[in-house]
Symmetry: C2
């Protein structure tokens, strides 16, 4: 995952216009989720990041997921949180083509996680919220990822979600394999 923004419909109407719809560009691994053609900029006290992807569909609450490096570039103090957990989360200005939104919370560095279905989780004895280790199958930059949160959903597609910095640290490309240990 690279940096991206999830928007509530209400916030999107501030950034774009009333009745705005997201235009799907590419699908994401989880069913129904997509990268939109629309984008926004993020402005922190120290820097601005241009053309940050929006992931659709709308969420109940706006959430910004950035890289650890982005937090330092923007000059904000974002914690490692699971999606939806805004405890100690940072703020940022989101700039759209028609308006600016002063977000006071909801900026996080996403905690690495494994998407898995109920049946798959049962088959290998994992439960929702559990913390596991995943060993990346790579020769150049071997890594064992500890503290991987298991997210069990009926609608899930089995997928291990890490961000660009974590993938680079294991020298992994999209579609690489790993092992639950």
């Amino acid at each position: 995952m690279n940096r991206h923004v999830h928007l509530s419909e209400k916030d999107a109407e501030i950034l774009f216009w009333k009745g705005v719809k997201l235009t799907p560009d590419r699908p994401l691994s989880q069913p129904g989720q997509f990268i939109a053609k629309e984008s926004v900029d993020l402005q922190g006290p120290e820097w601005r990041l241009d053309k940050v992807n929006i992931f659709g569909p709308w969420r109940k609450q706006t959430q910004v997921e950035i890289l650890a490096m982005d937090a330092s570039t923007l000059g904000i103090d974002a914690p490692i949180n699971v999606s939806g957990n805004f405890k100690h989360s940072a703020g940022v200005s989101i700039i759209g083509p028609q308006g600016t939104l002063e977000l006071t919370e909801g900026v996080i560095v996403a905690k690495r996680h494994l998407h898995i279905t109920v049946a798959e989780a049962e088959a290998i004895g994992l439960s929702d919220g559990e913390s596991i280790k995943i060993k990346a199958w790579t020769t150049e930059r071997g890594l064992i990822f500890d503290n991987v949160v298991v997210r069990v959903r009926d609608t899930a597609v089995l997928d291990f979600h890490i961000d660009v910095e974590e993938a680079n640290s294991a020298w992994l490309e999209k579609g690489a394999w790993g092992e639950i240990i």
Copy 2:
């Protein structure tokens, strides 16, 4: 470690001027090594990175150490290599205040390594060139780094060298601790 360049004196004279000396700004962990006040730009087929640090003193051969993310930004194909190994290494244009150097090899993504003295290595049974695992002491983003190369030198100061992306992936700050496993 962030991205940086080691220059030969001959190459530095192309980029700067005849008789140029590096001005130490901050010392590095290994004795005698420093970050210089001078900097250069790197130009690849797709992008330019401005103000890249030079590490002194001079090296016999010019070497550029970048992040995996930089390789993709610049549009070059740099391998994970130990310092000094130019096998399959990439090229880049180095731009100084007075001249440009077309480097045809020597651009790598540095392989993570542990600097250790002869006495320390003997005490814990490690040998030069050996590959070990290091577990980062971190709670947020636990990582076990596999494929860490041991570099035994009499003049070493014990230090585990990883780059910014690897440090971010473990949510580590400079001076954090780990454990050899």
